[in-house]
């Protein structure tokens, strides 16, 4: 059985992080599991964790009044769930629902923020890993907003 330190340091999000930083991160980590249909968090709640998916599938959803929730992204093995923990006022911007049995590492957000604040080099290393995720999600959102698969006008 792998230790939590191994699981954290081997997760794609922390790959390449030096061992000293990795050891620091492990103090904030614990294993969690979510059954299918169980919510990791809901929109507006305190963003108190960063989740590193080990195995499973998680849907990010928005509640739509009068309709069933709309999923706008699914996350899978090796992905990160939740970036709101790093941005004040630290509230989730969507719901996150486990679509299948999901095993993850939950990183305590208060602990993470404290360690990143105390060691700017660690904070920078973490932010460098978060920014590409934010950028790719922004790019994806742009495409989704454009509704590129909508019917084009016929060219005559």
């Amino acid at each position: 059985m792998k230790s939590i330190a191994q699981l954290v340091c081997e997760h794609p999000f922390f790959q390449g992080l030096n061992s000293e930083f990795c050891d620091l991160m492990c103090g904030c980590a614990r294993n969690v599991r979510f059954n299918p249909g169980e919510y990791l968090f809901h929109q507006g709640e305190d963003a108190d964790h960063l989740y590193l998916i080990r195995h499973g599938q998680v849907a990010l959803e928005l509640a739509v009044p009068g309709k069933s929730p709309v999923s706008f992204q699914t996350l899978h093995d090796g992905d990160v769930v939740g970036v709101s923990w790093v941005l004040p006022p630290y509230h989730w911007s969507s719901d996150a629902r486990a679509m299948s049995l999901t095993r993850a590492i939950a990183m305590d957000a208060h602990c993470l923020r404290k360690k990143c604040d105390e060691d700017p080099a660690l904070g920078y290393a973490v932010l460098k890993r978060l920014l590409p995720i934010l950028t790719s999600r922004l790019n994806a959102t742009q495409m989704q907003i454009l509704d590129v698969y909508g019917a084009p006008e016929e060219r005559q």
Partner: protein
């Protein structure tokens, strides 16, 4: 090989009509004289609805089957709506085949990444048929398909059948979905970095809305695929299909004659140009 005059639409009968999606239909047509010589995956015909207009429609059928021409049409304007509504035994005008095809011969021996968005799966389907008919000529084959929602998945049963093949990987993603959808949600370019493949030995064939192709080409380049190995099927205002009228000029290319399938090294810098 065309035996008709290239400007003259040949009257052919609609043999069958099948609804694929709410506004999308697949028509089977008589090949006429124009279609008897076969076609290359990626090519298109000009289909004429008499008294309404003529539009370019890609082949969507198996290129090894020449007794029927298969085209998948989305009803979005007068000509395509009339075409999609054509019943069996109706007559439409046919010119073609026109344009360049997917690089099926050049890609032999390589791995293939086939990436489709929305209705863009239709012009890629002949390439998929060709690969499956000649499976030993190609390495690993992966299809990435993205569309708006689960209700908008084109050729759904066929995708499921392909996914059951041991030597053909199919990944489907939708832009948004309800909670009953158990598959992936997200845009199709985001699937590219999740794949493990050798970029130096991969040929990518991409068809879909131009914005989707732009983002996908960018993701492929980021993954290390050469511009010369990325092929896009472009859509422009094609009228004559012979490179004479100039309506489909795109930089130094005429999409009808030099395309619609063009390698990315010929398109670099053009995709972000504003068009009015």
């Amino acid at each position: 090989m065309r035996s008709q005059h290239v400007w003259l639409p040949e009257p052919v009968r609609v043999l069958s009509r099948k609804q694929e999606l709410e506004t999308t239909w697949t028509l089977e047509l008589e090949p006429g004289q124009s279609g008897k010589g076969g076609f290359l995956p990626g090519q298109f015909n000009m289909l004429y609805v008499f008294g309404v207009g003529e539009i370019p429609i890609s082949f969507s059928g198996d290129p090894s089957q020449t007794e029927r021409l298969v085209h998948t049409v989305r009803a979005v304007g007068p000509a395509s709506s009339q075409l999609a509504a054509s019943r069996p035994m109706a007559t439409v005008g046919l010119r073609g085949p026109f344009g360049t095809g997917w690089p099926m011969a050049a890609a032999e021996g390589s791995d293939l990444l086939i990436i489709a968005g929305g209705l863009g799966l239709a012009p890629l389907r002949p390439a998929i048929y060709h690969v499956l008919n000649n499976r030993e000529r190609y390495g690993r084959v992966v299809l990435l398909y993205g569309t708006r929602s689960p209700d908008d998945i084109l050729f759904r049963e066929q995708l499921e059948a392909w996914n059951r093949l041991s030597d053909f990987d199919v990944h489907i993603t939708v832009d948004h979905a309800g909670s009953d959808w158990t598959g992936k949600v997200g845009v199709v370019p985001a699937l590219v970095p999740t794949l493990a493949f050798d970029p130096e030995d991969t040929v990518a064939m991409v068809c879909g809305p131009e914005i989707m192709m732009r983002f996908t080409a960018s993701a492929l380049r980021d993954a290390g695929v050469d511009d010369e190995s990325i092929y896009l099927s472009m859509e422009r205002n094609m009228k004559c299909a012979l490179g004479h009228c100039g309506h489909c000029q795109f930089g130094s290319n005429f999409v009808c004659k030099d395309g619609p399938v063009l390698s990315f090294d010929r398109l670099r810098g053009l995709l972000s140009l504003k068009e009015f």
